[in-house]
Assembly symmetry: C2
């Protein structure tokens, strides 16, 4: 990914009328008779809610990349996008307006259209026997709703079955939480995290496709000596960074930071774990980075930690001190694995009770679409 | 600074033969007879070592902005630049090749030409009775050399006098240390910092003027779909970030991080204070940001902390939660003050014993040139 052009980081915008979903990285050949491997009579019927958004598009990319089986897909979006056509894996689809009836006969619905849409349509989908995997924050802290990273706490959704007729709702954690816990959990299992101090370096993609476009536009404008267009963010983003734009709560933390605090407790099923976070938006396209300081109950040396991380599913260790090669957002963009490096004994703590690590993960992929589809895979 | 064009963040490159030093922000009128206020018979004779570099240029800007008095300035650089002319405050100077004899009759020399130049020429300057303020890391950890932030520990250099004939050497701390301690020290005085976890967001300028140019060039290239030119950094910097390029030490910390650890101890004269740091380079031009988590010996509530910071010299508090307005690198670029915001009680610590803060400061200015000239001002 060194020297990747910006185009490789963009989303596959192809949703004009008759638009085609363009594969970002590779085009696998179709199966016989023009039928894709993933299109199977015994696969579930899917619905994608918010298919025109950044995560919605990535859902399609991940389904394709992973040969996720399906016998049908309903492409759902707002009224504004309804009627547009898109071609996915050789089949043409018409985008439909999201309605409660959209979920009739749907086994699994992947939601990524914001919290209010999830609140309005999630329960209706469940009532129709559909299993909803929701990427919004609407239900994450609902004690009845499992909040799941498949590599971390798959047991939380063990009671939900696809096709049982009962339906169910599973929440996808926030991107920053997923990326942090992919690396922190294997270490937590070994030495029990007592306290975690996180500082994030978050990409434009977390604010959606329009934010990515705005970063690119602003950068061109600033380079040309023109004032930057500020529609999505209220301030210059190009060649700048700023505290995450989520609203600040009375305790001084913004909502993004509190997600990291609360979701970590829920996913680890540990109300005692101490977490503080500072969430910052940096001018990067689609992958988050996080500097994570860990305090452990039990000692854990850095070599053991590195070995544990090397063996952790969905984690890749990039930690080459001699050549100063560590994870970067660019290197993990469009990748599934979360990359961890800068693994070192925290010299501010006694007796090997602390580590500093630096984590990068694709915000749209493992931070959102991939995690949701991995949840669906586990359910099948 | 909202909507600032990139030109405002650039350095005043004006050092072609016969080039003129261009004031970035304002042109004050000259005094009578074309003589600038700062050019005074009773001012010290100055030398600037590395005058063609990013910090060297900023030395001139700060001298001008602050009406720093001088009766003469020797503009010193490598042989390569010798003979070029520059106009500063209405007077024309010829850049001279740096030699030991360059310091004959010089009262104060401001060095910013890298550690090896400081090692080679600093002692020679001191031997000639010159007071050297050195911006490199060459002497920072020398127990005989004061390491000074004027707002923090001016007492460390009380024994050094300009014009005493004895000479002397004072080290300017690393930019990240200065910016961090400008905010942390007032709080440390109140409640004693026990442990500090720092994550940095460092600008291109810390790697010099050529790095700033490379970031701009790379950004244009990536936007045009071309591969980025990687001369200063070995990897793509545009729309990316990476672990600071300083060499990694056997303990896993890079040298930039260890500067924060060691320099904090020296400046605070406190070998017990625990510091850990993760230093990251972000695609920002000339101001650093730092996320700082503080653990205190004594309780300190956030309102008191904010009041203390509001009263601290060289610090401005930008902490408007309602409008989500906090410090940004862009907002502090070309400014003297270090900005602090996101001041909040750390919810991961008990009994008001912790705070999280977010700090931004101009790397070239307070992080280097301004601090050095403030040191010189105190000495006069």
């Amino acid at each position: 990914m060194q020297g990747a052009a910006l185009s490789a980081l963009r989303l596959p915008f192809g949703f004009a009328a008759g638009g085609e979903y363009h594969r970002r990285r590779h085009c696998r050949s179709s199966g016989g008779f023009g039928v894709r491997m993933a299109l199977r009579e015994d696969g579930p019927s899917l619905a994608i809610v918010g298919v025109t958004g950044a995560v919605g598009q990535e859902f399609l990319g991940v389904i394709s990349d992973r040969d996720f089986p399906y016998r049908s897909i309903r492409m759902l979006a707002s009224k504004r996008s309804a009627g547009r056509r898109l071609t996915f894996e050789g089949n043409e689809y018409v985008i439909e307006e999201l309605k409660e009836e959209s979920f009739d006969g749907v086994d699994v619905a992947l939601f990524s259209a914001g919290g209010s849409i999830s609140k309005a349509f999630g329960p209706a989908a469940v009532a129709r026997g559909c299993v909803v995997v929701d990427n919004s924050s609407a239900f994450r802290m609902d004690p009845e709703v499992p909040l799941v990273i498949p590599e971390v706490n798959p047991e939380a959704m063990a009671h939900i079955k696809v096709g049982s007729g009962k339906g169910g709702l599973i929440a996808n954690p926030n991107c920053s939480t997923i990326i942090c816990l992919m690396a922190a959990t294997p270490l937590h299992r070994q030495a029990k995290v007592k306290r975690m101090v996180v500082s994030t370096y978050q990409a434009a993609s977390g604010a959606g496709a329009a934010a990515m476009e705005e970063l690119e536009l602003q950068t061109r404008e600033v380079l040309d000596g023109r004032p930057p267009t500020c529609n999505i963010f209220k301030q210059q983003y190009a060649f700048n960074l700023f505290s995450h734009n989520a609203p600040v709560q009375p305790n001084g933390y913004n909502e993004e930071e509190m997600k990291l605090v609360k979701e970590t407790r829920k996913i680890w099923n540990d109300e005692e774990v101490k977490v503080t976070a500072t969430c910052i938006r940096v001018p990067v396209m689609r992958a988050h980075a996080e500097s994570v300081n860990l305090q452990f109950e039990k000692p854990l040396d850095e070599d053991t930690a590195r070995e544990i991380l090397r063996g952790a599913p969905g984690v890749v260790v990039i930690d080459d001190r001699a050549s100063n090669h560590f994870p970067t957002p660019l290197e993990v963009s469009n990748k599934d694995d979360v990359a961890v490096g800068r693994v070192r004994q925290d010299i501010s703590q006694e007796g090997n009770h602390g580590l500093d690590i630096f984590v990068c993960g694709d915000q749209i992929r493992k931070g959102a679409a991939l995690n949701a589809i991995q949840i669906a895979e586990r359910l099948l």
